[in-house]
Amino acid sequence: MTGLWAVLWAKGRIARHSIASVRNESKLKVGVVSISAALLWIGAFIAFREGFHWLKNFEVASGPSYLGLGDLIMLRLLSVFALALFLMLVFSNALVSFSTIYRTKEVAYLLQAPLTVREFFLVRLVECVVFSSWASAYLGSPLVLAYGLTTGAPWPFYGAALAFYIPFVWLPAALGSLITVLLVRWYPAMPRYTLPAVACVAVVVLFFYLRATLIATETPDDSLFLGTEISRALGVSQRMQSPWLPSHWASQGIILASWGRYGESGFYLLLLTANALMATWVATEAAARLFHVGWSQLAGLPGRSARRAGRGFFAISDRAFRPLPNPARALVAKDVRLFWRDPTQWTQFLLFFGIMAVYIATLRNREPESVPHYRSWIAAMNIGASTLVLATLTSRFVFPLVSLEGRRFWIIGLAPITIRQLVWQKFWLSVATTSAFTITVVVLSCIRLGIEPIAFTLAVYTIIAANFGLSGLAVGLGSLYPNFQEDNPARVVSGMGGTLNFLASMAYISLVVAALTVMLQWEALGLYPNRAAFWWTLAAVGGFITVLSAVCTLLPMKLGLRNLMRTEF
């Protein structure tokens, strides 16, 4: 057995033992997570299948001149999905590879073993692929299956989809790792604010690129549908179909396989595989030359002196939290500093910020030209999108807060504060920070969309309530299922507790958005017998959201606190 295979063998055994150890977990937790994950997958599959069916029926119902439109839109949808997934994978791999290649304690162990740097890098690359790509399989499989079943694709299509999947996730892992190796080699030597400045410029460039892409107008190829939303959507999606994009090779190859054109599909598979191998080779050679320099620099990074008191971002945040009594203020100051001094944390937050800016910038007010039920859909979907952003923030950044106290719990354990104070401090910190972000998003998006006053007020109320509900879920479940062995927040989130929190958040959002959609649609369709019935329904929906948010806040917090108080540190 070579060194490379020895490590991969050990990883296989570790995975096996980890799966086996699930039986030691709470049966309730395993059951809830498994059933929720299965239901979410089935729900996504049904949604995709119904969507594809609707597109097929739409072209038939719209007349002969629309023949092929359903197929065209489906193709474009797959392309857009593949591109979005590809970009997400590159980004997440760049983040994951930083901790996997440089930061985990295992690195020092492997480096003192007789492995070459190339072998070491390949081992870590495989781990990055596995770690960052399972979610794409979970998200992508219902889409591909629904597409195959709707279009009646032959069975080799499913094999082809699987074959494309491997190079499709491998390539971004190699690219992301390469970015990390280059950054670690060159970044420590850069002046203090170079990386944040580069990251900000990158977000701004991405913002203008996506904005230019997303507000693209009709293209000559789509002249049949000129002046329609269909034309705009086709125009947008066409811009994402560059033959230079690996996502295009994957989506084209899979689609060609569904048409039985295996030769052309095989060409794209080979193209994607060749590029994945080439990227792996380049990344491995870069690692062989640059890894040790970067690793040494990281190990001996001259402690950049922290800012003097009274200056900079931390001074502003300290002033903002000054009204808080100690020890809550000390805990908040510590959490804020730990967050902003960890590049893997704030870069993701910055990306969220960029995505939200793109979202708001591309919204358009269609009120004058659209029918009421369309406007009500838009209002409900906007609330849905905003709460989804909130759920992503709480799942990614708030859930790991308690776990990250980890082995430092003894410090807090010795301090004259209670665990109750600690956990509630995390809750209020979450509510304060996510509220500032998400309420701004809701207000700006409602203004951009020209949402009517009642729906506007309801949207703001819903996001405030959701800030409490989703923060309660994240902090409560984070305390109920903490992972004190893990220092990497991304890995804490990907555990079973994190998955449960994400699924519970999705369930919360589904219930809230369903209630709002029904209420607003009935109003738009004029189904209320009188105005009083509308107001009563509005009050009932508001009450439902309040009660649901209160339950989602108090119940997990109570259970989480009870668990932490029983835990021995």
Binding site: A6, W9, A10, R13, H17, K105, Q112, P114, T116, G300
Partner: protein, 243 residues
């Protein structure tokens, strides 16, 4: 077996190891002493290939650890103060994994591996996951796995953490016995009584510079007044501190 020439490691403006020159012979038990932050761990990290030197070179068994890391590390065994072990592997699986890393035949695990597990008293728990081990058991597994590939040079960094007195005594004798078989031991520790018991030669590092090397007798002879190793250590590092 270990040759260090002009070894220097700088972290920015800070010089952690400053022009270190040292040779440790085959079968020698070399103890490396120094106050906190003196440069012991940095030297060990360079020796084990974890860090690259800024200047100078370090050789293990004639192989430069920077230019021929794989060959050098194949001769090397390393026991850190807090060993990293894979929590979700069993003790036996970990031994098998280490055998794979060092390209040892499968049978080695069944023969030498079992022998080492028994020797260190962890054969009975060999099929338990490492996450269930106590700190002492982890340390013993770390020792057992370190000797699986029959290293010619063993670098040990403060290995006594978590071991009970009985095991400290056993490990001390085990390492000494290994040096009699020709294994070179390079040990960093603050346990002066153990050094007095096992060291063939002592090196004292302070502020990145090797300020003294010699046998125990030679070291004790440097004292202005007769005293213990502790007195000598304090005297040497104190003198260095004064201009």
């Amino acid at each position: 077996m270990i040759r260090i020439e002009g070894l220097t490691k700088q972290f920015g403006d800070h010089t952690a190891v400053d022009d270190l020159n040292l040779e440790v012979r085959k079968g020698e038990f070399f103890c490396f002493l120094g106050p906190n932050g003196a440069g012991k761990t940095t030297t060990i990290k360079i020796l084990t290939g974890l860090l690259r030197p800024t200047r100078g070179r370090a050789e293990v068994g004639g192989w430069d650890v920077t230019t021929h890391p794989v060959e050098a590390k194949a001769l090397l065994g390393y026991i850190p103060d807090t060993p990293y072990l894979y929590e979700k592997l069993t003790g036996r699986e970990f031994m098998r994994f280490v055998a794979g890393l060092y390209r040892l035949p499968e049978e080695t695990v069944a023969t030498d591996g079992e022998e080492l597990l028994a020797l260190f008293g962890i054969a009975e728990v060999g099929d338990r996951l490492i996450e269930q081990y106590s700190h002492g058991m982890r340390q013993k597994l770390s020792f057992a796995s370190c000797f699986l590939h029959r290293p010619e040079v063993v670098v040990v960094d403060e290995p006594w953490v978590g071991l009970d007195p009985k095991n400290v005594r056993f490990v001390r004798h085990f390492l000494k016995e290994k040096t009699r078989e020709g294994v070179t031991v390079f040990m960093s520790t603050h346990s002066l009584s153990i050094i007095e018991d096992v060291a063939d030669r002592i090196g004292i590092i302070h502020r990145g510079k090797l300020i003294h090397t010699g046998s125990l007798q030679e070291t004790l002879a440097t004292a202005r007044h007769p005293g213990s190793l502790e007195d000598i250590f304090l005297q040497l590092t104190e003198e260095e501190r004064q201009p």
